[in-house]
Symmetry: C2
Subunit: 142 residues, 2 copies
DNA sequence: TATATTCTGAGACTCAATCTCAATAAGAAT
DNA sequence: ATTCTTATTGAGATTGAGTCTCAGAATATA
């Protein structure tokens, strides 16, 4: 299984045990390139016949986020979304406020301007959130 | 009172009544240039001897945000912050992940790149969130 | 001042996320 | 393979920001 090794490695690094539940959460996150919330991950795993609790889904996602295998997106609607980082390069997001569709963008100019701004303040950049809330073409003219 | 007129105007526009409670929320928001959460606004008003409920604070802030008199900031920690927009020009935020200090920045290059990105997708930009999470100089070398 | 209507406050409620703790499972040692 | 220690799990309780409810209070209009 392609997703097996990185999970085992991360768990070992954290001194945690390898379990079927943790594997199922990681597998489900890797199953699509969507940006899903914890409840959707939870339901998808149960749909597939495996038993797992919400608490375990949240706890496992925390481990994965901490180990940079999964990225947590806060869209300001009180429900975090998650995306796996397998083969992913850095990007930020466009979010349609009508249909909720999420697309990705990346702009070198913006990235370097950010660094310059932070440098000018004399600070150290840790991470950034850059979200463009839009109305997509389908929603604009259906 | 400097903050009296815009409030009355907004309330009239929304078909809402002018009340002491609404005035007190707006006054308190204008009292500082900080980025405070609803609980802080609520406590500050009570501190000053006026009686107001949490519900009214939230309800009034909603009206003010809707009328662009107040800006709501979602920092991803589950507690929205608010800043009044008296004399304010557009800006985004630097947030120290250590001490919570919030500073403001604005970059024309980034602003126009955003427009170009959205145009390239064929979408319509409604609003954006751009937050730089940093470690400030005081926290870096105390 | 009377009347109709909106607003307020106290607390119930919601919902995502976290915590609790007894039962279960993993992994190490034998 | 079995035992033993310790981490993990699941069900449900809890948290906390924010919203809702509705009877009583306050506001605007006549």
């Amino acid at each position: 299984m392609a997703t097996y090794d990185p999970l085992k490695r991360a768990l070992k690094k954290e001194g945690l045990r390898y379990t079927q539940q943790r594997q199922s959460v990681w597998d489900e996150l890797c199953a699509t390139n969507d940006h899903r919330d914890a409840e959707e991950i939870y339901l998808a795993i149960r749909q597939s016949g495996l038993n797992v609790s919400r608490a375990t889904v949240y706890r496992t996602i925390d481990v994965l986020v901490k180990n940079k295998m999964v990225r947590k997106l806060e869209l300001g609607d009180g429900r975090a979304r998650y995306e796996h980082k397998i083969n992913a390069t850095h990007h930020d997001h466009l979010i349609c406020i009508q249909c909720g569709k999420i697309e990705e963008f990346m702009d070198e100019v913006i990235e370097s301007r950010q660094d310059e701004i932070v440098k000018k303040f004399g600070y150290k950049l840790v991470r950034h959130i850059h979200q463009l809330f839009i109305i997509c073409s389908e929603c604009e003219s259906p």
